[in-house]
Subunit: 221 residues, 4 copies
Amino acid sequence: MEIFERLKAAVPDDWNAYVGHPFVRGMGDGTLPEPAFRHYLVQDYLFLIQFARAYALAGYKARSLADLKAASAGVSAIVDTEMDLHVRLSERWGLSAADLESAVEARATVAYTRLVLEAGMSGDLLDLYTALAPCMIGYAEIGTALAALPGGLSPDNPYREWIAEYSGEGFQEAAQAARDQLDRLAADRLTEARWPALVDLFRQATRLEADFWEMGLTLAE
Amino acid sequence: MEIFERLKAAVPDDWNAYVGHPFVRGMGDGTLPEPAFRHYLVQDYLFLIQFARAYALAGYKARSLADLKAASAGVSAIVDTEMDLHVRLSERWGLSAADLESAVEARATVAYTRLVLEAGMSGDLLDLYTALAPCMIGYAEIGTALAALPGGLSPDNPYREWIAEYSGEGFQEAAQAARDQLDRLAADRLTEARWPALVDLFRQATRLEADFWEMGLTLAE
Amino acid sequence: MEIFERLKAAVPDDWNAYVGHPFVRGMGDGTLPEPAFRHYLVQDYLFLIQFARAYALAGYKARSLADLKAASAGVSAIVDTEMDLHVRLSERWGLSAADLESAVEARATVAYTRLVLEAGMSGDLLDLYTALAPCMIGYAEIGTALAALPGGLSPDNPYREWIAEYSGEGFQEAAQAARDQLDRLAADRLTEARWPALVDLFRQATRLEADFWEMGLTLAE
Amino acid sequence: MEIFERLKAAVPDDWNAYVGHPFVRGMGDGTLPEPAFRHYLVQDYLFLIQFARAYALAGYKARSLADLKAASAGVSAIVDTEMDLHVRLSERWGLSAADLESAVEARATVAYTRLVLEAGMSGDLLDLYTALAPCMIGYAEIGTALAALPGGLSPDNPYREWIAEYSGEGFQEAAQAARDQLDRLAADRLTEARWPALVDLFRQATRLEADFWEMGLTLAE
């Protein structure tokens, strides 16, 4: 059984609370209040910077050239591509690049990103990619689920662009690569003695990702 | 002007929200609900473990034998003394060592501790001690303020022991040492170009410390 | 005065011993024994992997998106371009990719790379780029000096390709960018109190780079 | 089979070159030139500072309170006890505290200590303690072997004090604790996939420890 599936199966309630959060459901049926989405977009920009740092950390931690190349591609995908896409999407929602750059990290943004970075630094690549999994692999799962809803991708849904991106081929492939990477790392480094701590880390990361949706919904700072 | 005073002066509202949080006021006049204090005690135990790791990190980051000794004394004070005191105080509040050891970190505990550890790792000792300052120096300020209240240390106040500890000579001296350490580090490493980022870090740490009180008060997990 | 020039001026003997090492002079006039160059090529391959990790570390340590992008470009330049060039150059010297990949790090390779990584991790970006400067900026200086020699780039010189690469526009621009980056970091973070430790680090790095030439010359393992 | 014994058995030649180095044999029969020992004492002082940082790093990396306490005791043993002993031993050899404090790290000191710190930071506690094992456990093995020699501890041997310290009960117990710690970590985290890299790290560390003796013998800087 895939390691990612084992991790999800270990914390089903936390996982479902994350992928089925009201913010997510609101994107799926188009009922999410627009200010919530705007607040999310701003924080997600700040999140991406820390996320890129996490991939840079993976490069530092790499023990093989293959791992190093994978991490380098991850950083580059974020800082050279995703952030530009994010800026353009945000513009269509009325947020300027200056709005994004001058924003202050909300608590929920700090909590999840620093957990990931700290777990990755004090642990190993298996810890780091486990902490990133709710984001990388979870967003792909959410994208697929929302795209399958009746109105998910309909022209009426103001969130169709977000759904299209995360359900799209590019992101789905990246998520599959993250699953494979996790399996390779687990094959090399997972022992049964480590399993409870790994589940605990996955649970923390999943809860803090759910808090990120909640932060969007409540406009929390 | 002392660097700690400059930092506080830069974020007065955040600082006052932290040192004057309802949880703090409730300890001062004895009206804090006891379950809130118990919840705080459990999380503070988990906090202390991460806090000791932060001092260990300061030892790794040390560039002089004096800094290394100071960090080593910091770790030892926590793992060899404070944690035992904490266990005994918790016992008097009906919490066993097993209760503490089996507890799960609340979000607020994760958020503040990982911010400190990550800022200290990616930054330098000045960043690390700045992120620790709301805790080390702030608790001393709170202890002094509460001890000066009419009933702060009265036998009727269920929180007199906590107040006595943090207003006591030992902790006050440790806080003064932390102030001096911060001044020495700032003399060596602070430039005006770094100041805004340092204030930002202090503000984040202060807000997350206030969230720690809020977590106690609301019994949040 | 440029920070890099200040650093060189602080340790002139160490710097001259590095850029004027017999290995370097032997490349310039074509008298370097070929086994020495082959040994160097193998170790330089292993060096590049650690060097890429150092840029990944710079990405993790970055505080701004600009610094993050610069570090990401640095990693990518090594793992996506330089290492391929290195493999092809090595092939022309009779070394297969398998020879490179199966090689064991010599002591001199371990010493310099781990100094850089450790200084960068326990210090800040200014420390990291200072430790990298003898490599990045020093190689450009050596390339320029050797290209200016009468027979440096002549078809008779077996080392003309190496000299052409490091005296070429691409590498010279990268070295200039490294100089500018160092100046920016120093403007933000250098204090007079830090100067002696920074010189010490630069001196250590320069000596260990000279040892790297010596390792090539003596075929040391 | 104990993990430390497995590691030694994997690199017998490197291990024997380290524990049977001419510097070691010269201490055993009292023929080591005194300037070599003085040079060693100075560098060993600088080594101890980095060694204490390595234990501080172990504290940062700790996942349990027991590991954190063990690391804290390790740092404290060095900075509060061993370094004082070292200063007093050095004084009897004509070296003042100022001589020690003003000394510059030799290449061999840099190489071993930075390998350990970097392996421990980018890896996990198993990597860190494996890299420290040639020092902690190897010195105990050397001490025992030299004490068993006919004149090892005789009043005529100028090196009897060194031999007595490392063959003494205190250090032997510390070495046994390090062996046990390594076994516990291996039980939790060692997989067969990790074994070759762990052996490689142990081999590198062992060679760099042998280089440390060589540095003493040749008075290398």
